[in-house]
Homo-oligomer: 577 residues x 2
C-alpha cells in the first residue's frame, strides 16, 4: 500500500480527531473528564438562557449543546473550543425572528432550525470556495465595536426580565414609562438581585477567599465555576418551595419536553429560506469569525495551529447537525471555552463528555427545568455579558488610529441604533473604505531611457533621455477601480504640463490585472486622447493581461495605437516622428 | 489690491458660474435658450411621473425642478448636467417611504422633504471631509448591476399602472393572479399602449423619416424631444374629451396646487430623521455617484473638467434647496442631460431657462395637469427606463473578469430580491473583498547582508551573509488587517523551517502605517515568540510609525526586544549570539 501514508494524512486533515486519539493517554482523559463536567455544568443554564433570549423554547438551546459539539469534535482543529449556543448568535437570532418580514410567517421554531441549516450550509459553501481567509477581512476594531454593541443590546433585552417586566414599547413617551415601571414584580427582582449577588461572589471574591484558605487550585477552579448551576438550583428551589409562580407571579421557564429530540418539523417552505438567507449569512459570518478568534487565543497558549478552512467545515457541519437535531445555530463560546481551557481540557474529549452529560440531563432531568425563574437566567447572562462591553478598548483604539476608532464607534452605534446586521455592515464598509483610501494612490513613474542602454528608469531619479512628443509612464501596481481615477488624473496632469505630447505609452511591467472598471476608464481615456489627436499605446504587457484584453475590443480601439512587446520597440517607432 | 486675483479664483472655484458668465456670448445664449426649452418640455412630465413613482403628490417633482437646478447652476462644475428628479432616486424614495418603520410614522410628504434635507446635508458633510474621491470606490460593475436591478424594479412598479391595476399582493399564490388580472381597466391599457406607440415612434423612426425629408438637424432634435409632452397633451385631451375618468375609471394625476411652494411643513420630528438616515445615506451616495458619472461623460466630449468635491457641494446645496422649496431629492438625470447636451446646451444657462419655464408652468398651468392619465406617465417612464437594463453589459463583464461578473450579478439579484439598499451594499462588499483578496499578500523578503557593506538584500536574489539564529524580514507594504495574517503565517512558516532561530527582526523601511488589528496581532506574535524563548525586534521604523507605537506599550512589551535605528545595529548586537 504505497499511498497509505498520504491517505492517512488526508484523513487526519479532514478528521483532526484521529490525530490526537491515536496518542490519547489516561492522564489526558482525567483532565478532559474534569473539564467536561465543569463545562457541562455551565452549558445547561447557558443553553436554556440563550434559547429564551433568542425568543425560543428552552430545549432548542439544550439540543444545540449535544450533537453539534460532537460533530465539531470530529472535524474541528481546535482542541478546546466549546461549540454550542452563544449569546451573540442568540441576539442575532432574536433580531431575525422579530424582523417584520419573518415574524409574519409565524412558527419561530421552524425559522430557527432553518437558520441553523442555512448558516451551516453557507459555511460549508465558504469552505468549498476556500474562503477561510475571509476572517482576515473583518478588522479587530469592527469586531470589538460589534461585540460591545451586541452586548449592550443583550443587556437591554435582559434587564426587563430581571425586573419581571415585558420589553417596553413606550418609545420617546416619557410619561408612559412611569406606568411601565409600576409593573415591576418585586419577588422577581428580589430573586434576580440575589442571583447576581451569588454569581458575582462566585467570581473573584470566592476565588481569593479559597486561595487564602490554601485550597488546591483545581478545586478552586471547579467550585468557582459552579456559580451558575448553584444559582439556578437555589432560585428554582425557592420558586418551588414558596410557590412563587402562582403566589407572586414570578415568570419561569415552563415545560421542557423529556427525551431526545425527533426531527418531525417540516423545513420545506422555500419562501422562508429566502427571507432568512441574509440573516443566516450574517450569523454564519459572525459565528465563524468569533469562533476562529476564540480558537486562536487558546491554541496560541499551547502552540497549536488552527486551520481556518477546516474550521468552516467543522462549524458548518455542527450547524447542520443543530438543524437536524432540533437545535438553534451554534458557534464557539468565549466564556465556555475559557472555562473549559482553564479547567484543564486537553482535547475535544472534554466536549464529548460534556455533550454526554447534556444528553443525560435532557433525558432524565428536564422536568426539573420547568420552575427555573427567568430572572435567574437573565442574571447569568448579565454577569457574563457585561465584561464584553469594552469601552476602554474603544478609547484606546481612538487614540492609536483615528480611522480605526471611527469604524469602531460607528459599528457600535450602528448596532445600537439600526441593528446587528446594519451595524456590522457599516463597520466593514468604513474599514474597507479607509483601507482603500490608503492604497488608492499607486506609484507612477514618468520614465526615460538610460543613454546607450535599453533600460527605462524614473526621470526623477536618473539621468535619462526623453522625447518631447512622447510620454512614457510606468504604473507600479495592478490597475483596478480603486486606483484608476488617480492614474487618469496623473496622466491628465502630465498632458497639461507637456502640451507637445502626441504619444502616450503605458508600460505594463508591474501590472498583473486590469479589472472591468479600469478597462472602461482606459477606453474612455483612449477616446478622449484620440479626440485631442493623441495616441495611446501599451508595452510589456504580461501574457495573462494580454489574453484578458484580447477578449475585448480594447486593442482594436487603440488603433493606430499599438501593444508593443518591449518599450524599446515603442520608442524606436514613435521617437522618430 | 494685491490678493484680488487669488480671491477671484477662489470665488470662481466656489461659484463656477462666474467663470463662464464673464465671457458669455449672445451665440451661446441662443444655443442655451433652445436647449433650455427642450429640456423643460421633458422636465414637466418627468417631474410629475417620478413624484408619483416615489409615492408622492406630483408637485414634489415639479418643485424639485425649479430651485435645485438654479442652485446647481451656481455651484456645479458641469456645464450641461440637468439636475432634478430622477428615476433611480425615485425608486429609492419609494423604497424608503414603504419601509415598515417609516410608513408607520405617516405623512410621506414630510418624510420626502426630510430625505432631501438629510441627503443634502450628508453630501455637504462629505464635501467637508473631502470625500469626493468616494466615487472611485463603487466599481462600474456594481453600478451597472445596481442600475439594471433598479430599472427592473421600476418596470415592475410601472407595469400595473399601465394596466390600470394596483400593485399585486398575491405573492406565490397563482390562483390569486387570475382574479388580479381581471381588474385590468381596458381604457387605461388602451391609452397606455397608444402612449408607448407614440413615444417609440418619436424615437428613431421619426428621426429617420425627418432626415430623409431633408429637414435641418436641430429642428429634428427639437421635434423628436417633444414626444413625451405631445403624448401627455394628447392623452390628457382624450381623457377630458371622453370624460374617461368617471366613464371608464381611468386613473389621473389629480389636483396639483397652483403657485409657488411655501414651506409650512414641520420638519422637526427627530425620530423620523433618525429612521430615515440610512436611506438618506444611500440616496446621497447613489445621487452623487450617478451625477458625477453622467457629468463626466458630457464633460469628456468637450474636454471640460469635473471637480468631484465641488460636485458634492453643488448637489448638497441643491438637495437642501429641494427640501426648503418642498421638492423631492434630486440628482443629475441621464436622459435629460443627454437631451440637454445634444440640443446644444453650452452652459448651465440652459438649466436656468428650463427652471424659469417650470416656474411659469407651476404658476399658470397646474390646473391643466389634473387630468393627465397615470398610464401615460407610466409609458414615459417605461420607454425611458428599459434601455437601462443592460444584460448585455453583464454578459460582457462576466466573460472579461469573473470576480467583477459575480459582483455585478449579485448586486442585480440583491436589488431585485432584497431591495435597493441591500443590493448595492452586497455589491460593494463583494467588490471590496475581491479587491482585498488580490492585495492581501504583500511582498516579504528574507534578507541578508551583502558582504563588506551595510546593505541588506533578498537572500533569493543576492549572495548575502546570513546567521542561523537570526531571521531578518523586510515587509514591503504597510501592515494592516488585510495582510497581517499572511505576514504572521509567513513568519511562522520560516520559524518552522529554521529551528535555530532566537531573534526575529522586522525591517520597517517600507512600512508607513500599522493599524489597530495589525498591532494586536504583532502583540500576540511577540507573546507567542517569548513563550518559545525567541525575541522580536524591529528596525528602521519611520518617525510617524514610531510615534504611533509610542502611544501604546508595544515597545515595552517587546523587551528584551528592541527598536533598532539601523538594521546594521541590530545585526552587530544580535549576530554575536
Amino acid at each position: 500500500m504505497p499511498h497509505s501514508k498520504s491517505n492517512n494524512s488526508r484523513l487526519t486533515q479532514l478528521f483532526p480527531i484521529i490525530g490526537w486519539l491515536k496518542s490519547y493517554t489516561r492522564q489526558e482523559f482525567n483532565s478532559d473528564l474534569f473539564a467536561g463536567i465543569i463545562t457541562a455544568i455551565l452549558l445547561v443554564p447557558q443553553g436554556i438562557a440563550y434559547a429564551i433570549m433568542a425568543g425560543l423554547p428552552p430545549q432548542l438551546g439544550l439540543y444545540a449543546s449535544i450533537l453539534p459539539p460532537v460533530l465539531y469534535a470530529l472535524f474541528g482543529t481546535s482542541r478546546t473550543l466549546s461549540v454550542g449556543p452563544v449569546s451573540i448568535a442568540a441576539i442575532m437570532i432574536a433580531s431575525a425572528l422579530t424582523a417584520p418580514e419573518i415574524s409574519v410567517l409565524g412558527n419561530p421554531v421552524q425559522s430557527a432550525l432553518i437558520l441553523s441549516a442555512e448558516s451551516g450550509a453557507i459555511m460549508l459553501l465558504m469552505a468549498l470556495l476556500r474562503m477561510g481567509g475571509l476572517v482576515n477581512f473583518i478588522s479587530h476594531p469592527v469586531l470589538t465595536g460589534f461585540t460591545s454593541g451586541a452586548a449592550l443590546l443583550i443587556i437591554g433585552s435582559q434587564l426587563p426580565q430581571l425586573f419581571g417586566l415585558k420589553t417596553p414599547s413606550c418609545g420617546f413617551n416619557v410619561s408612559c414609562y412611569s406606568h411601565y415601571f409600576s409593573g415591576i414584580v418585586s419577588a422577581t427582582l428580589f430573586i434576580g438581585l440575589i442571583a447576581i449577588g451569588l454569581l458575582v461572589f462566585f467570581g473573584k471574591p470566592l476565588v481569593l477567599m479559597l486561595k487564602n484558605s490554601g485550597m488546591q487550585s483545581y478545586l478552586i477552579a471547579a467550585i468557582s465555576k459552579c456559580g451558575p448551576l448553584l444559582t439556578i438550583i437555589l432560585t428554582t428551589l425557592a420558586v418551588d418551595y414558596f410557590d412563587l409562580t402562582s403566589q407572586q407571579n414570578v415568570a419561569v421557564v415552563g415545560k421542557v419536553p423529556s427525551g431526545f429530540p425527533v426531527l418531525n418539523m417540516d423545513l420545506s417552505p422555500i419562501e422562508k429560506w429566502s427571507v432568512l438567507l441574509p440573516y443566516s449569512g450574517f450569523i454564519a459570518l459572525i459565528a465563524y469569525v468569533e469562533s476562529v478568534a476564540i480558537a486562536k487565543v487558546t491554541a496560541n497558549f499551547r502552540g497549536e495551529k488552527i486551520f481556518p478552512n477546516q474550521e468552516l467545515i467543522a462549524l458548518g457541519v455542527a450547524n447542520v447537525a443543530a438543524a437536524i437535531s432540533g437545535g438553534m445555530p451554534v458557534a464557539g463560546g468565549f466564556s465556555r471555552t475559557m472555562v473549559n481551557f482553564s479547567a484543564g481540557a486537553r482535547t475535544q474529549m472534554a466536549m464529548l463528555i460534556a455533550a454526554g452529560i447534556l444528553a443525560l440531563a435532557v433525558i432524565f432531568f428536564s422536568p426539573l427545568f420547568e420552575n427555573i425563574p427567568k430572572t435567574a437566567l437573565a442574571a447569568i447572562i448579565l454577569v457574563a455579558i457585561v465584561p464584553l462591553v469594552k469601552l476602554n478598548d474603544i478609547a484606546h483604539t481612538w487614540r492609536y488610529d483615528r480611522g480605526d476608532g471611527i469604524a469602531e464607534i460607528a459599528t457600535l452605534l450602528g448596532v445600537l441604533v439600526y441593528g446587528i446586521e446594519e451595524g456590522i455592515t457599516l463597520g466593514i464598509i468604513l474599514t474597507l473604505i479607509s483601507h482603500l483610501r490608503k492604497t488608492s494612490q499607486p506609484h507612477i513613474a514618468v520614465v526615460g531611457r538610460i543613454p546607450g542602454t535599453e533600460h527605462y528608469r524614473n526621470i526623477k531619479r536618473h539621468n535619462v533621455e526623453t522625447w518631447s512628443h512622447l510620454l512614457l509612464l510606468r504604473v507600479d501596481e495592478s490597475i483596478t477601480f480603486a486606483n484608476i481615477n488617480y492614474i487618469e488624473e496623473f496622466i491628465n496632469a502630465e498632458l497639461r504640463q507637456q502640451p507637445d505630447i502626441k504619444h502616450v505609452v503605458l508600460i505594463f511591467t508591474s501590472i498583473s490585472d486590469i479589472d472591468t472598471t479600469a478597462l472602461e476608464v482606459l477606453e474612455n481615456l483612449n477616446h478622449t486622447l484620440q479626440t485631442a489627436k493623441m495616441t495611446l499605446h501599451i508595452s510589456e504587457a504580461k501574457g495573462p493581461v494580454l489574453d484578458k484584453l484580447e477578449k475585448t475590443d480594447f486593442l482594436k480601439q487603440l488603433q493606430p495605437g499599438k501593444a508593443f512587446f518591449h518599450t524599446e520597440d515603442a520608442v524606436r517607432e514613435l521617437a522618430k516622428g
